[in-house]
Amino acid sequence: MSAADGVKNHLRALLSHVDKYDLAPLRAVHVTNGYEIGEDRTVIMARVRDAGLSPVAWALVNWAATLEATSAVLWRPADGGVFLGVKGKLPCGAQVKVYGFVMFGVWTLSGVEPGHFEDIPISRLLEYAQTRTVGEANDDKGGK
């Protein structure tokens, strides 16, 4: 295996990980061979399907449980809605970020102003995962 095959190897690692843990379907995957991803050495970005707060948080909690050295974030761009994300390593060592857009249920997140960025404990994701509104009751499978 050469460094030139980085994208291929990362995809292979991602695929076997997704299959092994039967993780929720993704909306998008962005993989690079490493040379242009920012300061933090992330080579795989995966986006879970847009959904309510609880299913997005569930999808991310499941990912977090399968990755090494996991951390979580919550952020809201200046011009948009709320995102949740987790960062960790696949068993092969490749750093992966998994994130999701919260379509509704956001009202349970108090104080999240546009431009907000916050590191959160994984336990907070678990709380969000257990937060169900009436509107989300039929949508708790994360689009799976």
């Binding site: 291929k8 995809l11 379907p25 998008a28 995957v29 962005h30 690079t32």
Partner: protein, 143 residues
């Protein structure tokens, strides 16, 4: 495996294609998107080269040879550098549509008539010509 997981299946299709076509130039960056989202581009898009036209064209010719239903187009960016993207669109062996592209710096006679923001379809034979090493005259390609 989840049959409803199209991103997962597109990734698998890509991997099986590159396993079958071992001589393909390496991919630098790849995006796979779920087609359930109507505003996304082709489900698989990938950057395979940037640099001089001849090397970008060569990488794209190799990819084109492995794909079905190939078409080629140029697009000149509206950004500050106004670089030219050369795209090859086609289908993987499994039928999944892909967009394979490379970047060529604008300038020094490369596509001098291609305005910013312009899209231009070119024949595959043209891409083959570009893949030949440039001669010593420094002359670029005129589109």
């Amino acid at each position: 495996m989840n049959a409803g997981d199209s991103v997962r299946n597109f990734v698998a299709a890509f991997l099986s294609h590159v396993d079958k076509n071992k001589e393909l130039p390496p991919v630098r960056r790849l995006m796979v998107t779920d087609r359930a989202y109507p505003f996304e581009d082709e489900p698989v898009s990938m950057c395979v080269a940037d640099g001089p036209l001849s090397s970008v064209a060569w990488a794209l010719v190799c990819w084109a040879a492995s794909l079905a239903e190939v078409s080629v187009h140029l697009w000149r960016s509206t950004g500050r550098d106004g670089e030219v993207q050369v795209h090859v669109e086609g289908r993987l062996s499994s039928g999944v549509p892909v967009d394979v592209y490379g970047f060529v710096a604008f300038g020094a006679g490369v596509f001098p008539n291609l305005e910013r923001g312009t899209f231009s379809v070119v024949p595959l034979s043209e891409l083959l010509e570009w893949a030949k090493p440039i001669d010593g005259t420094g002359k670029g390609v005129v589109v």
